[in-house]
């Protein structure tokens, strides 16, 4: 980096820090403690609080809901280096993301790479402004880890496709406005070759959703049914029958998102949270030496993973990243997050077992603990991730 670039970046850092200081409400500088603290956007959305609205609108107006997207599509137009600075400065004050959405994390990057100009102009600004909430139609009852065996049919009928079939584990389908969906457009082709990636409105005739009750007692996922849903062919992203390319590219982003789901480096150290319930000895050490050791090992691994996540971004910027590396991060990040919650449950002891009470915020901790068990399943299981690393990065033999 040249001296001018470094100086410019430092100026950007100073300006960003000042702007965040002036504009991020204090309430938005604490970790989110429930799903209501997360703003997802969409047609039917409501803000949980006034600070949430203010924070979102200020960030949106700067294009910082999607800081690195081009300005013409509602983004902030930041360079990779500037984006890193913004993230670091936000992390420094504990600022929450102003908008969370599958549109930002998954569809957006895929549209930027594979979408045509009309599709980008139509969808990206609405994602950036939080106007449309998206869901992902990938898995089916008989196509989980073996995603490419999906059977939802899209039959050609003039200018439209007519879509029939069902999806499962569609996150927040019951709240979503639109869906990005994998459908089979050529049943005769080999399984990876007959798939298309298509977008449609969830209010289309023939779409129904049914929430699935999970072990956490929540229903973040749905079954989604399509009964002759008519979708214009212009809604296909990329080439018809080449949707698997788009799907894989999007999955890399999904995996990067899931691997970052753990609350890394924010809030109080896990050991101090544990001390609240377990207590400390006269030297200030957690009064459960085995648990203390587990926590300390966790902290080592968590700090190392954070460095690796930072490095992955730097490698990508330098053009040295392996495209399958997000699978490596997804595997490790999700297993680590499960460890975190096993520790939290162990530290919480009896108090962490309450399921329905004000005291326990309706069992927030045990429900979150159970929720984390899906981390290593959704977006590709740990076993699928390890298989991808073995074959694509290590080049080990076999199918």
């Amino acid at each position: 980096m040249s001296e001018t670039e470094t100086a410019d970046l430092e100026q950007f850092r100073a300006e960003t820090r000042a702007w965040l200081e002036a504009n991020c409400p204090p309430e938005m500088r604490k970790p989110a403690t429930s799903d209501a603290d997360v703003f997802w956007g969409g047609r039917n959305t409501k803000f949980a609080s006034e600070p949430q609205r203010i924070w979102f609108e200020r960030m949106r107006d700067k294009g910082w809901t999607v800081p690195d997207w081009p300005k013409e599509y509602g983004g902030g137009g930041l360079s990779a280096a500037e984006h890193k600075v913004l993230r670091a400065e936000m992390a420094k004050i504990g600022a929450r993301p102003p908008l969370s959405s599958f549109g930002i994390w998954m569809l957006g990057p895929a549209l930027l790479k594979y979408g045509n100009e009309a599709q980008k102009k139509e969808h990206l600004p609405k994602i950036a402004a939080g106007l449309i909430r998206w869901c992902q139609g990938y898995s089916e009852p008989n196509a989980g880890s073996d995603l490419a065996s999906l059977q939802t049919r899209a039959e050609s009928d003039g200018d439209d496709f007519v879509i029939t079939g069902s999806k499962i584990w569609t996150s927040y389908a019951n709240y979503a406005d639109w869906i990005f969906c994998l459908v089979r457009t050529d049943p005769a082709a080999k399984k990876h070759d007959g798939i298309s990636f298509i977008l449609f409105d969830m209010t289309s005739k023939g779409v129904t959703t049914k929430p699935i009750l999970l072990i956490s007692g929540y229903s973040p996922f749905c079954e989604t049914f399509f009964d002759g849903v008519r979708v214009p062919k212009s809604h296909v992203v990329g080439t018809v029958n080449r949707g698997w390319d788009v799907a894989k590219y999007l999955l890399q982003h999904e995996r990067a998102m899931i691997s970052g789901m753990g609350e890394r480096g924010v809030g109080r150290p896990l050991g101090q949270i544990a001390a609240d319930s377990v207590g400390s000895d006269t030297q200030g050490r957690l009064d459960d030496s085995m648990l203390r050791g587990r926590i300390a090992s966790f902290d080592v691994d968590e700090a190392a993973l954070a460095a690796c996540a930072e490095r992955a971004v730097d490698l990508a910027k330098a053009g040295q990243a392996h495209p399958a590396f997000s699978s490596a991060m997804k595997y490790y990040g999700t297993e680590l997050n499960k460890r975190r919650y096993e520790i939290l449950m162990s530290a919480g002891g009896v108090d962490a077992l309450e399921w329905e009470s004000e005291r326990s915020r309706q069992g927030a901790r045990p429900r979150a603990w159970l929720r984390t068990k899906a981390n290593s399943i959704e977006g590709g299981t740990t076993e699928v991730m390890l298989g991808i690393v073995a074959k694509r990065i290590l080049d080990l033999p076999g199918a």
Binding site: A296, L396, G398
Partner: protein, 379 residues
């Protein structure tokens, strides 16, 4: 600072790799071991290191060095780890040079640093006394005598202690074992009266010694840094050493891993390449991820040291702890996946296992550094 190598750093890595893989593959260590070489490393290679500016890598240019940073030192250490080359680089060029850089007065720097840079002086740090690395437990006594001090006590695992021309000895001038106050570093001539050196042949066939000091007289000029206040200097020097050893360990881990993956791609059993078995694929993949995460943690620590040695402790603790668990896993999987061949002396893989074990103890093992992180985080 981006966690990737700059162009200059890539060039440095390439030239170090070229020299080391050419002149000191694992067979180099093997022949030194088998010949029971009394020096335990190649003086000719050390001369090449000096010529390439590696011996004085961390030494400021005014003292004839290259004036580079810990990130660069880590790059060399990683390459050393790949072939297990026995080299004075760690003890002399990283640890002792840093101690002199950070704690030395003008006279001490100008006496020793130019000689380190030109390869004519070997130096080391004598710190450990018990079975485990516990710097604050230092109890080697230094009592005032006339204008100077008299040193008495024993040190173990003194890297290159059998060949060093200068030993930097951690001693207690006040207080008692376990206390931060009262530690002092001394520059000791190993040829001085009262110094007894026993070369220890270690499991890894690298170089170390036990040193005993019996009323060894040193002058007041031999104090490095301040009397009784050596703990802070020692923290910095040790953290630099830890970062460097961690880098060696990730190089070692990566090399074992690469050799093991190659083996999985060539060894056939049950009519298949064993690398086709999912049980082995997944273990290999897990190990790969472990190594990549550890590598990032080490780069982070080396950059933190470059930014401010006094503020790098937590990053270094993470790096050395991860380096320990990762290397231990890598060498064990390496031997296991090589099957019976991995157990033979003829196969190189065992050398890596032995070196990893020594590196793990050097400057604190994974348990030690995990404990340090817990304390730093207040639980």
């Amino acid at each position: 600072m981006a966690l990737v190598l700059t162009e200059e750093q890539s060039m440095l890595r390439d030239s170090a790799r070229g020299l080391i893989s050419d002149k000191a593959p694992v067979s180099h260590l093997r022949s030194l071991r088998d010949a029971k070489d009394p020096t335990g490393f190649s003086k000719e290679l050390w001369h090449s290191f000096a010529e390439m500016g590696f011996a004085g890598l961390l030494v400021p240019e005014e003292f004839g060095g290259s004036g580079l940073g810990f990130m660069e030192a880590g790059i060399i250490m990683e390459e050393i780890g790949r072939t297990l080359m026995p080299s004075p680089f760690l003890a002399t060029s990283v640890v002792a040079a840093s101690a002199l850089n950070l704690g030395g007065n003008a006279a001490q720097k100008s006496e020793f640093l130019p000689k380190i840079s030109n390869g004519s002086l070997l130096a080391t740090l004598a710190i450990d006394e018990g079975a485990k690395h516990r710097p604050l437990q230092t109890s080697l006594q230094a009592v005032r005598a006339g204008n100077g001090f008299k040193l008495s006590g024993a040190k173990a695992l003194v890297v290159d202690g059998h060949v060093a021309d200068l030993s930097i000895v951690a001693a207690r001038t006040a207080g008692s074992a376990g206390e931060r106050e009262g530690l002092t570093l001394f520059l000791v001539n190993p040829k001085a009266k009262g110094v007894a050196i026993e070369r220890t042949i270690m499991v890894d066939a690298h170089n170390a010694a036990r040193i005993e000091l019996a009323n060894v007289e040193v002058t007041a000029d031999s104090v490095l840094g301040e009397v009784d206040q050596g703990a802070a200097l020692l923290d910095g020097v040790l953290d630099i050493g830890r970062g460097a050893v961690a880098a060696e360990m990730v190089g070692l881990s990566d090399e074992v891993f690469n050799r093991t993956v190659e083996y999985l791609k060539n060894r056939k059993q049950f009519g298949k390449l064993i690398g086709e078995f999912q049980a082995l694929q997944h273990r290999a993949a897990e190990l790969y991820v472990d190594i990549e995460i550890t590598r990032a943690a080490i780069i982070k620590a080396l950059q933190a040291l470059d930014a401010d040695v006094t503020k790098a402790a937590s990053a270094v603790a993470v790096a050395k702890a991860r380096a320990g668990t990762t290397a231990t896993r890598a060498v064990q999987e390496g031997v296991q996946m090589h099957g019976g061949m991995g157990m033979t002396d003829q196969f190189d893989i065992g050398f890596f296992m032995k070196r990893a074990r020594v590196c793990e103890e050097l400057f604190g093992d994974a348990n030690y550094h995990t404990e340090q992180l817990a304390r730093a985080r207040g639980y």
